[in-house]
């Protein structure tokens, strides 16, 4: 796996937000608020039928789409963000939106807007040949997902196919916060680490919401954690307000603290 963006050597926080939740201007504010704590920002492009998402992110998609969200607004938002920040941004969406625009047009427009890569939740490797060719041609980052039940050879193949980072789905199921992580997740992180190339970045997502989660997962050797529903819940509760920004920053800071603690443990155990 090639390190396109020189992602940090120390483990990072990846924050996920849904474009247009509750409106586009607010999303830009939230991205800026989270920027100082994040190694990567993941910007969701809402889809009408998000089958891999739990109710928190589904509802965020509905809030955005019912305000008349259009894909171009995500690109415009990113252009604005790029005026102040060079933090890597990856887009996250479902394949129909990419396919419908034309894969190449989508990649060109996303790159022009300042995106560094793309996560397509319902595009498994087996169906991704053309997509990978196009991303390669435009030097646009690819990120594939693997899960605790993904066989070894497929993890290796996914690692080789991911040019930015590999997305580790923590457990079976959809997005949404969880109480705690089990042995299955820890074993999975270790297995993936032993299979993937040394300079690959392995970020774990799905269900992470607090400092303890961050600490535990990073202490197992993950290079980053991806947090979505926990941020989206704050946006849902506080809406478009100053409070939202304060709470988002508080949570990001807390997660960041967990990452530092986990990393210290990991270094010691190594």
């Amino acid at each position: 796996m090639k390190n396109l963006n020189n992602l940090n050597e120390k483990p990072i926080l990846v924050s996920f937000l849904v474009s247009g939740d509750p409106n586009i201007e607010a999303t830009l504010k939230y991205m800026k608020a989270l920027d100082e704590y994040c190694g990567v920002i993941e910007l969701g492009i809402p889809f009408s039928d998000p089958v891999a998402d739990g109710s928190t992110i589904q509802e965020a998609n509905v809030r955005s789409l019912s305000n008349g969200f259009k894909i171009n607004q995500s690109f415009d938002l990113l252009k604005e963000f790029r005026k102040d920040s060079d933090t890597p941004v990856v887009l996250m969406t479902y394949y129909n939106l990419v396919y419908n625009r034309g894969i190449e047009d989508f990649v060109i427009d996303a790159k022009k807007a300042g995106a560094n890569g793309l996560i397509i939740v319902d595009l498994p490797l087996d169906e991704a040949e053309e997509y990978q060719k196009i991303c390669k041609k435009h030097e646009f980052g690819t990120i594939f997902l693997v899960a605790p039940n993904t066989p070894d050879e497929r993890i290796i193949y996914s690692d080789e196919s991911s040019t930015m980072f590999l997305y580790l789905i923590s457990t079976f199921g959809i997005t949404g916060t969880r109480d705690s992580f089990e042995k299955m997740t820890f074993d999975f992180i270790k297995r993936a680490k032993s299979l993937c190339s040394d300079n690959s970045k392995l970020y774990v997502g799905f269900g992470i919401s607090n400092e303890k989660h961050a600490e535990n997962l990073i202490s197992q050797g993950a290079d980053g954690i991806i947090v979505g529903s926990a941020f989206v819940n704050i946006i849902k509760e506080y809406g478009d307000s100053e409070d939202t920004i304060i709470k988002l920053k508080e949570l990001a800071k807390e997660l960041h603290g967990g990452i530092e603690k986990g990393y210290a443990k990991y270094i010691k155990s190594d």
Binding site: V51, A52, N96, Y99, R101, D122, L123, E127, T150, G173
Partner: protein, 399 residues
């Protein structure tokens, strides 16, 4: 049509699924490709279809309707007489048996009209599998009798309040549930859609319809029909009727017609005609035709019949449409209601509103056909579940 190894019919089909589901889908693919050619499994399936579900179903010459329309001879394949009241049982028994062979203890399913939910609940009761059904809350309101049946059969019915609260949203919820539960759970998909191998597998289980028609029409008429007609939600009863005729050389002249829901009209926003009005896209694991806006957001489908308001169509139909092998037409709510009344009064058969869309094709076209033309219509289900809907609609029209 044979799909290739990745489950493509031409450019349609495939396996567009979240990574977590890949091993679960592979497991089904392997189990099915083994059982498909396993004599014991096929015998067991045939046993239940015959002694439990009541196959074979009659192929009935609808003399009164034929004479009234004054053209082609119309035959009805009586899937309405199948246990459960619709063709859905062919598939639910097949997949429930498969689930058992795979060692699963729980089945889940989406449902629109409630017929697939009922079929799944019956199979769950029969084979001792815990059963959970996902159903849009709008469909729950308009298909109450079927909701009660599912509950009586011991299934848990989960109302789906996301999105448009109908069939496609029920599929979304069932898939989400499966993503977390596939270790002990089989997702018993109700039509020829979804990721490979579902479109092929469901078509195979429904093909018993067409196989019987072939034999029955030879017995009654000594030749194959000129027209085959079926309604299309996802397309399983239609594939079940068409498929056994598709491979035959001497069947190349058969006019096959699938009828989609035109709802309040194809020139309105309220219909379920994915072939006439949709574009290529990807949803629920497959590349096919979908109703969608210019950004690719999936649009809501509408039909008076809950079983037809799905904004997509199975990939094999998309392929057959592109080849020009099957003709895809549509019927409005009004035409379906009219066909419902017509069949009820002329033949004493109350059809499902879904099937009424297919009957409507005969009403529009049979009169212009030659007297010795033979048309077989798949009467996919009975109409008891639709009485409220029909009575309300008729009252509205009269007022």
């Amino acid at each position: 049509m044979k799909c290739d190894k990745n489950g493509y019919f031409g450019e349609f089909g495939g396996q567009y699924i979240p990574e977590v589901l890949k091993p679960a889908i592979d497991e089904i693919k392997e189990a099915y490709s083994e059982l498909k050619n396993d004599e014991d499994f096929q015998n067991e399936l045939s046993y239940y279809l015959k002694h439990y579900a009541g196959r074979e179903t009659p192929l009935y010459y609808a003399k009164n309707l034929s004479e009234k329309l004054g053209g082609a001879k119309i035959y009805l394949k009586r899937e309405d007489l199948l246990h459960g009241g619709a063709h859905k049982t062919n598939n639910t028994i097949g997949q429930a048996l498969l689930a058992k062979k795979m060692g699963k203890t729980r089945i889940i399913a989406e449902t629109g009209a409630g017929q697939h939910g009922v079929g799944t609940s019956m199979a769950g009761a029969l084979f001792g599998l815990e059963t959970e059904i996902f159903m849009g809350s709008i469909d729950i309101a308009r298909q109450q009798p079927n909701v009660e049946r599912m509950k009586l059969l011991g299934a848990k019915v989960n109302p789906v309040n996301t999105g448009s609260k109908v069939l496609k949203d029920a599929v979304n919820e069932a898939m989400r549930n499966w993503t977390a539960t596939f270790e002990n759970t089989h997702y018993l998909l109700g039509t020829v859609m979804g990721p490979h191998p579902f479109p092929t597998m469901v078509r195979d289980f429904q093909s018993v319809i067409g196989k019987e028609v072939k034999k029955q029409i030879m017995e009654q008429e000594g030749r194959f029909p000129d027209h085959l007609v079926a309604c299309i939600g996802g397309g399983s009863n239609a594939m079940g009727l068409f498929y056994p005729f598709l491979g035959e050389k001497d069947c190349s002249k058969i006019n096959m017609v699938g009828i989609e829901a035109a709802g309040k009209g194809l020139d309105t926003q309220e219909h379920g005609a994915s072939i006439s009005k949709g574009r290529k896209g990807i949803l629920h694991g497959m590349l096919s035709y979908f109703l969608q806006d210019e950004d690719g957001q999936i649009e809501e489908a509408y039909s008076i019949s809950a079983g037809l308001d799905y904004p997509g169509i199975g990939p094999e139909h998309a392929y057959l449409h592109n080849l020009g092998r099957v003709e895809y037409d549509s019927a409005t709510d009004k035409q379906a209601l009219n066909a419902f009344m017509e069949l009820t009064r002329t033949e004493g058969i109350i059809p499902a509103l879904e099937s009424s869309h297919a009957i409507s094709y005969a009403i529009e076209n049979a009169g212009n056909m030659a007297k010795d033309d033979i048309m077989v219509i798949n009467l996919s289900g009975r109409g008891d579940k639709d009485l409220n809907t029909v009575i309300n609609a008729v009252n509205k029209m009269e007022n």
